[in-house]
Amino acid sequence: MTTFNALIVIALAYVLLLFAVAFLAERRAARGHANWLHSPLIYTLSLSIYCTAWTFYGAVGYAARSGLEFVTIYLGPTLVMVGWWWILRRLVRIGRAQRITSIADLISSRFGKSTQLGMMVTLISVIAGTPYIALQLQSVTLSFAVFAQAEGVFWQQTDFNRTAIWVTIGLAVFTVIFGTRNLDANERHHGIVMAIAVEAVVKLLALVAVGGFVVWGIAGGVPQMLDRIDATEIQLWEQDSGRWVGLIFLSAAAFLCLPRMFQVMVVENADEQHLHVASWAFPLYLLLMSLFVVPIAVIGLELLPAGSNPDLFVLTVPLDQGQGGLAVLSFLGGLSSATSMVIVATLALATMVSNNIFVPIWLRLQATQQATMSGDVRHVILLSRRISIAAILTFGFLYYRLSGGGTALAAIGLISFTGVVQILPAMIGGIFWRGATGVGAGLGLMTGLLIWMWTLFLPSFGVDAVISQSVMDSGPWGLHWLRPQALFGITGLDPLVHGIMWSMLLNAAMFLCGSLFSFPGPLERLQGAQFVNVFDHSTAAPSWTNASTGAEDLLIMAQRIMGSAEAQAIFEQEAQRQGKVGYLPEVTLEFIERLERELSGSVGAATAHAMVGQLIGGSSVSVEDLIAVADEAAQILEYSNRLEAKSKEQERTARALRDANEKLTALSIQKDAFLSQISHELRTPMTSIRSFSEILREGGTNGEEQGRYAGIIHDEAVRLTRLLDDLLDLAVLENGQVELHEQTGTLADLLDRSIRAAGLHDGVLEIVRQSSDEGILITADLDRLAQVFINLISNARKYCDAKAPQLTIRVGQAKGRHVVDFIDNGSGIAAEHQSLIFEKFSRLSDEAKAGGAGLGLAISREVMHRLGGDIAYLPEASGAAFRVTLPDTTAAAVLAET
């Protein structure tokens, strides 16, 4: 028989061994010889903290009580490792890229570095984790008690408590020493990982040894063992399929969400590749751990007296069989399971409490006290972490004391799991769905936490402890549908499955709805993009050692946000100010501040700060992420710009419509005026014709009168015809339906022809020609051009008011084109009328004298435009002066000739 004191010595020796292992590992790591620590095997073994004392001892008890259901606890993690290891890979990648220190940090970081979410996750983890720590303390004290009992000493409650205190203190010391040695950026703890790897081996060896002893030492071989198993009722247990599904889901989710699992799986992960090994090695480990559970349970039930605690069969069976050494090994296995779990869980929880609760509050207090933040913050953080470790272990111990270490505690394992898996929706949603928002996560977590507390956690303290029997039976305040184990009137479910179902269902629903109906802030969007797109980017964080590369990337980002030209301008300006050639300035602090200010105008100060800070700080935000968010911002900007543009467009359209309307009105006024004019021009000669023809018809006129009136009728008829011709001509010209007949001839010939056709028979108007350039060849519709010349010549004849009217026709060049000027020696056209003369019916002087309808110049202008030339009034000349610019073809023709 091993004496109890010897056991204590062995336990202490074992603990010292662990200290030594951890210490050596730390030292090797510090000296840079940590390669062998970074092996996939160590990583896989460290994952074994999933198997706590609850699994080590409890699985056998579980099997003895409920048959094969204990397998679900192993199946969940196996499923995750085999089937969903890509979720782990994503978590590990994100954890490394974002320097995540805990699962609370993950959630907080994902949803815009939200302090509140970090606190909430920490709170859930502590509430759910503390009972679990208490459970480990209980198992250790119980196992001590078993040995004491074997010596005939029956422990009193005080003995239990004393043991528990010492165990707690020991664990606290170990965790503080190896958990808060340094504030590593990546938060890795080589010593602890190494120690728990050793413990993983010890507990596996212990369980396999006991199992081997049971199968081969007691049963006498595998077949006999199987026979004995068949003879029991274990496989006869009817399995509740709902419970199975619920439990497998629960253990799988807990495997992902447990703070301690996150610690070893993500935070302590040294190499992503280790996951590949772990994905088969860890399930294998779990298989070995579960292989002998049923045999031990069966043998225990057979050999030990009825009423023995099946949770302790792993210890009591070897003791009963006089195998003291094996019992000690088993004890060490249990101790390993308990301590490794407590150490990592405490470390993880302490990190969370320190980082997400203590430090934010401390910073806020500092800010309110206006104290400078100069001192070494590291000391504060380390101290806060040490205090947190002590506090969490104290909580665990207190919980153990208050719960009385009874059966209530044993049931806490799965309930604890359920509490912690409330983080699952926010976590999975956060890493796969960019639409997930902090509001959604907060609502989901809160809902899940409340339902978990109501349906599982509070009832777990036992009847009437927190929730009275009457509330359990008929709901609070008589609200039947709020009964803790029959929410919404759903009865007949296993309480655990009921709790899992409702908490997860409503948690996920609130998370979804909250996310859909809220809009993430800029930092949240940025983080969301990084988390979800973590695999789109390279594994390595981009480096910004090269200043000009930094400038270029800053420019790209700035362009995405502010627009290309604006950003470029700012950069060029800065480069100029620095006296640099090119458009990329040196990335100086001053410039960064300025850029940040500029950017904050577009995206807000917080985002600008985050973006520039991350980019410059060389932190793990990739350009792609920044660009993704910038693009989003740009899209939003563009959208609002589009809206603005649209309203501007509408404004423009409205204005265009108004203009068009005004134009139409003006046109219709013009058209009315035009019609009035035509009417007037037509009716006036018609009036004379009608009146005089009536006079002639009535008779009583002398011969002289008859002749004179017939003459008027004739002239007015001619005038009418000419007017109609002009109108038709103008209509054709204006519609562009005019047919041009190109001919080639000299300008001199054309002018001769025009002067002849102008009908200067009276010889009143003298034509002066400066014919030096008249020899040029013109290729155009010469008849039309002649029409313009004739019009100008006859206008001079009609309107020139000089005593000896004279028209000078001068050929020259202006702006590289050939021009023909027609200048008379009259008083010219008043300045205010010059702009009107080319309009229709813009006859300026006495109409009778003009003998035309005022369409001549309008027609001339149309003709010249059709020909590709122009006609204009020359205001500088003393008399009325018109310049006809000849069509372009003229110049080519001249060249051909010369």
Partner: protein, 122 residues
């Protein structure tokens, strides 16, 4: 001497035609060709009736009519308006301004003669 008709018109052929028609009917026809001075002309020597063209050089016949109707010495002189524009709104405007008659060019000689007889006789 017959009663005096003032013809305010700028188209020479039409002046000749109307003068011929009204002279033969026994009226004394005075001619005024300019719009700007037409009102002064009427005031200086108020006629028994006025034939007023709408489109005159310098001033519209409507403006002249408005002035005539606003002046005590001239407001009761019968006015027959003539226009070649031939639009209904011109007729309305003329009547509203107080024209006694509104005729569209081209007119029939007998019609002009009859209207003048009516207006002067009234």
């Amino acid at each position: 001497m017959g009663k005096r008709v003032l013809l305010i018109e700028d188209e020479p052929n039409i002046i000749e035609a109307i003068s011929f028609i009204l002279s033969r009917d026994g009226w004394t026809v005075h001619i005024h060709e300019d719009g700007t001075t037409a009102v002064d002309k009427v005031r200086a020597m108020p006629p028994d009736m006025i034939i007023l063209d709408v489109m005159l050089p310098g001033r519209s016949g409507f403006d002249i009519l408005r002035d005539l109707r606003g002046d005590d010495t001239t407001k009761s002189i019968p006015v027959m308006m003539l226009t070649a524009r031939g639009q209904d709104k011109d007729r309305e405007l003329a009547m509203r301004l107080g024209a006694n008659l509104f005729m569209t060019k081209p007119f029939s000689n007998t019609e002009v003669r009859d209207h003048v007889r009516d207006l002067i006789g009234a």
